[in-house]
């Protein structure tokens, strides 16, 4: 037999036959689904450049706009890896009761589905995904008010002396919902899919290669020492591990998720509900040895209007909701019959982001002028009802890179100084200080945009405002088609993961998620050095220097921190997640509330 024939023969024998009966049975199911319920099967759209860019922005990135208003859809970013301790106002838990159904109102549908390497997930999408998929690592309380990342699906994640080779050993005996075993090959296929996808291609640019060592061991080689790589393996719960069969089935990857998670996918009706049921062979147990999860079934329903979501909760038509509306959260928190769980650290930060690649904000005087003209406290009082925490820097307390505000030299609201700076800019450049301010088209964002414009005009600036739908706004940010933009960035995480928002390049070239279009060599060096610095104090120092650089250069005017809360009726318990598989204490980070430990009274 010639070489060509031999190769073709080998090719013809690849894969694992499941037999004619199984193939026919599955074919009948597929044929029946499409014929009887055509709206249930959603093909992934063709991703053109703009769509890919938007996908990167929404899925890898921070939020277009993370503020908190009624009737606002969430557009959270995904590659945030939070660092937080919980601030959970959940009831004292009795012994968990198994069984029952939970009706869960989420704040947005995920129309693109759950093919994670390509999915554009809002916080709601991540919540649904966390029911179906597990991640290799998860955040845990480090015992010092911060967070560390511990193995979950992985049994261990260890690095070599140079931090350029990470060895991921998997737990044995875990199976996907379709019965396939979790193996190193499956994980390698997932990591490859993430690397190849538009969403994580940028975030994983420093991954050099992925190698299957043996049945349960994967090795990841990186281009540079990557100290915080385990944080990236969690990525706000975004980097779930899907069954190879799901990844291979391009037609159904988005609509038929198959993970190893506590719940298995049952059915999805777009804009109506997505139902998952208990994975009876789930691998995790609680601290008393009971098999998780407790609930039989969860019905996720998208309820995009915050007020309607709250009414549904209060009327009992749903048992739990997610909300990033601080006013609504406060109101519900005040109601005795409602329990609210939040992540104390790990929210997004809302800011005015400058496009520093062109006039007028390529000029530091112009940025200083706007910073002096803006009164964030007034904006927070008027638009946010004082329900959010003022931000003066990107990283909140407890996250490496946070600097004591007293030593930061924060710009203060000073209308007189603002006028002086406007005059100075106009003298220096011979042009008026005029700019357009872009925000998303939600009612709340419009309010804030108008307030900022009003304050800037009072200082003598010429301001036009534009409101865009989120996808268009993201494209405007990527393309640099704006002067200043109301923006939300995921920063409540390890700065290693969040550095990507400010780096001018990645190992693959231009960084499309450098939304401010920064080309700051000093900042690039600090962020790159932070990635590879293993000594914690020195690492902190590097990221603190990066924060000071961001502040000095005024690439953003920081406004406030934002969060997603899980709000439940009193019949629901377990918002404090159960002990982690390695025995570590869990922590709620970046508004990602695990559903594995939820249970309800009968």
């Amino acid at each position: 037999m010639g070489e060509l024939r031999r190769l073709l023969e080998r090719m013809a024998q690849r894969g694992t036959p499941s037999g004619p009966d199984a193939v026919l049975a599955e074919a009948r199911k597929r044929a029946a689904v499409v014929m009887s319920e055509p709206r249930r099967v959603h093909r992934r759209p063709l991703l053109l450049v703009a769509a890919v860019a938007a996908a990167i922005a929404t899925a890898v990135v921070g939020t277009v706009w993370g503020a908190s208003f009624a009737n606002r859809e969430s557009h959270r970013g995904d590659v945030s890896v939070g660092r937080s301790s919980t601030s959970v106002a959940s009831p004292a838990t009795a012994r968990p009761v198994a069984g029952g159904q939970l009706r869960f109102g989420v704040d947005a549908e995920t129309p693109g589905g759950w093919c994670l390497p390509e999915a554009q997930l809002s916080a709601s999408g991540i919540e649904v995904a966390s029911a179906i998929y597990d991640t290799l690592t998860v955040p845990a309380n480090d015992g010092h008010g911060g967070v560390t990342y511990v193995p979950s699906l992985a049994r261990s994640v260890v690095h070599d002396a140079s931090f350029t080779r990470w060895t991921i050993a998997l737990r044995d005996g875990i199976t996907f919902h379709d019965g396939e075993a979790l193996t190193a090959s499956a994980v390698a296929q997932n990591l490859d899919a993430y690397r190849a996808g538009p969403l994580f291609g940028v975030a994983l640019a420093d991954v050099r290669s992925i190698t299957v060592v043996d049945r349960l061991t994967v090795q990841v080689a990186t281009r540079v020492p990557w100290v915080a790589f385990p944080a990236t393996l969690w990525s706000s719960g975004r980097m779930g591990i899907a069954a190879p069969a799901q990844l291979a089935d391009h037609a159904r990857c988005a609509t038929h998720p198959i993970g190893t998670g506590p719940f298995r996918f049952v059915v999805w009706h777009l804009n109506h509900d997505l139902i998952v049921e208990r994975n009876s062979s789930y691998w995790q147990r609680d601290s008393e040895g009971r098999r998780l999860p407790y609930l039989d079934r969860i019905v996720f329903s998208p309820l995009t209007d915050a007020a309607a979501r709250s009414r549904a909760l209060e009327s009992g038509s749903v048992d739990a909701v997610m909300t990033d509306d601080p006013g609504e959260t406060s109101r519900l928190q005040a109601a005795r019959a409602i329990h609210v769980a939040t992540s104390a650290i790990g929210p997004d930060v809302v800011s005015i982001m400058f496009n520093v690649s062109k006039a007028p904000f390529d000029n530091l005087t112009a940025r200083r002028a706007l910073a002096a003209a803006i009164d964030p406290d007034t904006i927070i009082r008027v638009a946010e009802h004082n329900a959010v925490t003022r931000a003066v820097e990107p990283f909140p307390v407890g996250v490496p890179g946070h600097v004591a505000p007293t030593v930061l030299g924060i710009p203060t609201h000073d209308p007189t100084r603002a006028r002086e700076l406007v005059n100075q800019y106009e003298r220096d450049t011979g042009t008026r200080l005029a700019f357009d301010l872009v925000g998303d088209n939600s009612a709340g964002a419009k309010d804030v945009t108008n307030l900022i414009a009003h304050q800037a005009r009072a200082a003598g600036m010429v301001v036009s405002t534009r409101t865009l739908d989120p996808a268009t706004q993201i494209n405007a940010a990527i393309g640099g088609d704006y002067d200043a933009m109301l923006w939300s960035t995921s920063t409540g995480s390890d700065p290693d993961v969040d550095a990507i928002w400010w780096q001018s390049t990645t190992s693959l070239g231009a960084n499309p998620v450098n939304f401010g279009h920064l080309h700051d060599g000093e900042l690039d060096q600090l962020l790159a050095a932070g990635r590879s610095q293993p000594d914690p104090p020195q690492r902190d120092a590097l990221y603190e220097a990066a924060t000071r650089r961001l502040t000095e250069q005024l690439y953003h005017v920081w406004l406030w921190y934002d969060d997603d809360a899980l709000v439940t009726t009193p019949r629901v318990h377990g918002t404090d997640p159960p002990t982690l598989p390695d025995g570590s204490a869990p922590v709620v980070v970046s508004g990602v509330h695990p559903v594995v430990g939820l249970w309800r009274d009968h």
């Binding site: 070489e3 073709l8 013809a12 193939v23 044929a31 890919v52 296929q189 190849a196």
Partner: protein, 174 residues
């Protein structure tokens, strides 16, 4: 045209429909091995051959009961080829979009060494012709009928494939 009986082809000639009694399971059982091998050759490498067979059978089922096809094997093979070709086009478009966006695709290509890598570079229809001609040893006229193309086109595809694979063939000759 009475073609020689080969795995998964011309079932209606091998075994008349009446004899099968409309039993789809029996029909698929007879065709399965050949269809699966064909699927393994034409499917993208990250797609399980069975999945491609399933999808093609599902398409066939949406049209009419399987037992009502005159030549189910041929229909399913053509369907698999169309699906594989569409998937390849989709994947190429996606890659081009990424290249424009992120500049380099090299760093994201999988690094699993394989002597089948060269075959992967061929379009599915070329792989299909080469497989049917080289391994199943069909004539180009038969291949053309089965895949719904002209004999000239089938020969051209095989020629193109062999040219691309010359390095392998030369190694074989050496």
């Amino acid at each position: 045209v009475a073609l020689p009986a080969k795995a998964g082809r011309r079932v209606s000639l091998d075994k008349p429909r009446e004899e099968l009694g409309g039993d789809e399971s029996q029909l698929v059982e007879m065709l399965y091995a050949g269809l699966r091998r064909f699927a393994a050759v034409v499917a993208p490498f990250d797609v399980e051959p069975d999945d491609l067979v399933q999808e093609a059978l599902a398409r066939a089922l949406r049209v009419r009961p399987l037992a009502e096809y005159d030549d189910l094997g041929s229909y399913v093979r053509k369907a698999m080829l169309h699906i594989a070709a569409n998937e390849r086009r989709r994947s190429d478009r996606f890659s081009r979009a990424l290249v424009r966006l992120i500049r380099s695709r090299d760093a994201r290509t999988p690094e699993y060494p394989s002597d089948l890598a060269l075959l992967k570079t061929l379009p599915p229809d070329v792989r299909a012709v080469l497989y049917l001609a080289e391994v199943e040893q069909w004539t180009f006229a038969e291949v053309a009928e089965l895949l719904g193309c002209s004999e000239t086109a089938a020969r051209a595809r095989a020629s193109r494939g062999r040219r691309t694979l010359r390095s392998v063939l030369e190694a074989d000759d050496g």
